[in-house]
């Protein structure tokens, strides 16, 4: 390998993209993806994630900056010479060709001989458990089967990098979960580098080694799923990933990794300062519903507690969902496991809830 290992296999270096020459869809993107990594670009529609994928595939050109693949700049290489496998949202199988011919296509244009082609096609179809379908036409397959064929076709010519553009968007929930598992298994077994675009956060969390959260043309946070969920770096990420309780207030003081926050109703709580720097700053404090605790025995002795009024109790089987009013926020959710000793709080009652300061993150106040 010619590339420097510390550099990453895929590198976006200060990449910008504008369609109209005025507004930037992608603003100063810097991203490095290691060989064999499964990276997901996650974000709402219009956040620039698909544009990034299309620039990597070569269907869009970067207005500014450079994209490197294996250490080589690819800005001036046309899509068909990049050797990148791609799975499209609508599968994009060639309707006039059988499944076998679809898979044969990338091998034919690469000049593989007949026997070698057949061998590779058979292997790729077996990989996605579609060995018996080589003679079918795409129109005769179900959505899930078409998805598998699209995957096999993107892998059959053994690319080192595979891009996937919301490939599971059109499937039903059960099939989607199954395919999530299969795609990750295949990607890891084959050791290919994968860039996966989705707006589904569950997909991003369950499949990826790393997730890049996009918003407004920038990466808001790039981290492994657990870090992303537990340690969001700003309000957007906290709000976008998973369920999230927020309380607004002002920073009173910051000592190392503890900040005192005066909430808007005057109560004071401890929080971990994340992207707030000074006293007097407005802040939005974020706490995950499953980290809210009403049982004092389970709380750290010096955990801060706060009065809450129970508004609603929802029994969901494995968990209880309790809607509380906390410091003026009437949509404060507490999720607790359905354990034998778990209390089912009655609406109208007043309880004390608390959390560990490290689970309570003082983030920026979104404008």
């Amino acid at each position: 390998m010619s590339e420097n290992d510390t550099e990453g296999f895929v590198v976006f270096d200060r990449v910008q993209k504008s369609y109209d020459g005025e507004t930037l869809v992608v603003k100063d993107l810097n991203l490095s993806i290691a060989r064999g990594e499964f990276l997901t670009m996650l974000g709402p529609s219009g956040s620039g994630k698909t544009t990034c994928l299309m620039m990597l595939a070569g269907f869009e050109t970067a207005t500014h900056g450079e994209i490197l693949l294996g250490g080589r700049p690819i800005n001036n290489i046309p899509p068909h010479k990049r050797g990148i496998g791609m799975v499209f949202q609508n599968y994009a199988l060639f309707p006039h060709m059988s499944v076998g011919e679809n898979l044969s296509f990338p091998l034919e244009v690469r000049g593989f001989g007949r026997s070698e082609r057949e061998q590779k096609i058979a292997r790729a179809l077996d990989m996605v458990q579609m060995g018996a379908f080589a003679n079918r036409r795409p129109a005769q397959l179900s959505g899930g089967q078409q998805q598998r064929i699209a995957l096999a076709r993107a892998l059959v010519f053994e690319p080192e990098l595979v891009l996937m553009d919301e490939p599971l968007g059109a499937l039903d929930k059960q099939l989607r979960e199954h395919m999530q598992f299969e795609i990750t298994r295949l990607a890891h077994n084959l050791g290919i580098t994968t860039v996966y675009v989705t707006h589904d956060q569950t997909e991003a969390l369950t499949m990826s080694d790393n997730v890049a959260v996009f918003d407004d043309g920038r990466i808001q946070q790039l981290a492994p799923p657990d870090v992303l969920y537990e340690e969001p770096q700003n309000s957007f990420v906290a709000q976008f990933i998973g369920e999230n309780n927020t309380l607004d207030g002002v920073i009173k003081e910051i000592h190392g990794d503890v900040a005192l926050v005066e909430l808007d109703n005057g109560e004071i709580i401890d929080a971990r300062p994340v992207n707030v720097t000074r006293a007097g700053e407005r802040t939005r404090v974020s706490i995950r519903p499953e980290r809210v605790e009403a049982n004092k025995e389970r709380l750290h002795p010096d955990a801060h507690t706060i009065r809450a009024e129970v508004l609603e109790f929802i029994y969901m089987g494995d968990v209880f969902r309790t809607r509380l009013e906390v410091a003026g926020n009437e949509n404060f959710i507490m999720k607790s496991r359905n354990a034998p000793d778990q209390v089912r709080h009655k609406p109208g009652s007043t309880i004390e809830v608390g959390w560990l300061p490290k689970d309570c993150r003082a983030l920026d106040m979104p404008s």
Partner: protein
Amino acid sequence: MPLPAYATTKDRIWYYTFRVICYAIFFFLMAPILVMIPLSFNAQPFFTFTSEMLMLRPEGYSLRWYQDFLGSDSWMRSIRNSFMIGIAATILATTLGTLAALGLSRSEMPFKGLVMALLISPMIVPLIISAAGMFFFFSQLNIAQSYLGVVLAHTALGTPFVIITVTATLVGFDHSLTRAAASLGASPSTTFFRITMPLILPGVISGALFAFITSFDEIVIVLFIAGPEQRTIPREMWSGIREDISPTILAVATLMVLISVLLLVTIELLRRRSERLRGLTPG
């Protein structure tokens, strides 16, 4: 659709009137064509049914006009001309029309509506105006009274049909297929011939058929531009009627009807086949 049980008298009257109107229209359209066929077997040099014919006597019928036609050098030349000009114009119109439709279907194409309108205009502008314009223009270029001139003129007439049919096919064309082909390593030309072309083929075939038929029965432009060497079948029929009124043209007309029907059937079968291959209809 049979009458429903609850139909009122008014419904019934309308139901039958409607059928009568439909059959009348059908008769009106078909009768002039169909009446020509038996007349072309007339043993006498008349354009009317003789009493022998009406009595279905064999001596009232003959193949003399067909013999006349096949034995005539000028008719044979006109057939050759019609096919040569028709095929050449079809190839040109199909190529140009397909390329134009592909270009016009791209989102980055500027002035789409204007360009489309310009390309379609030969279909809308009265033929006599195009013909007169082309006559003067081609005379300047010294290609009036030449095969090239007639072929180019017919190409201009046929291209709009190809553009329209191919554009219609492209509306349903999934552009991610060409991206998929590129991601799989196919160059733009490979992508065109192996992915785009097979998928738009039904539209291309229909367009080509229209282009051919347009050229095959076109007379106005031929009158202006063709010299004696380039006389086509319609041109020959025209002078046939004006100069010597002979039932030969009935024989020619019958043959042309036959050719047109065969052509239409063949092309329609071809089109259905490629539509099926396209994977649009189950089969």
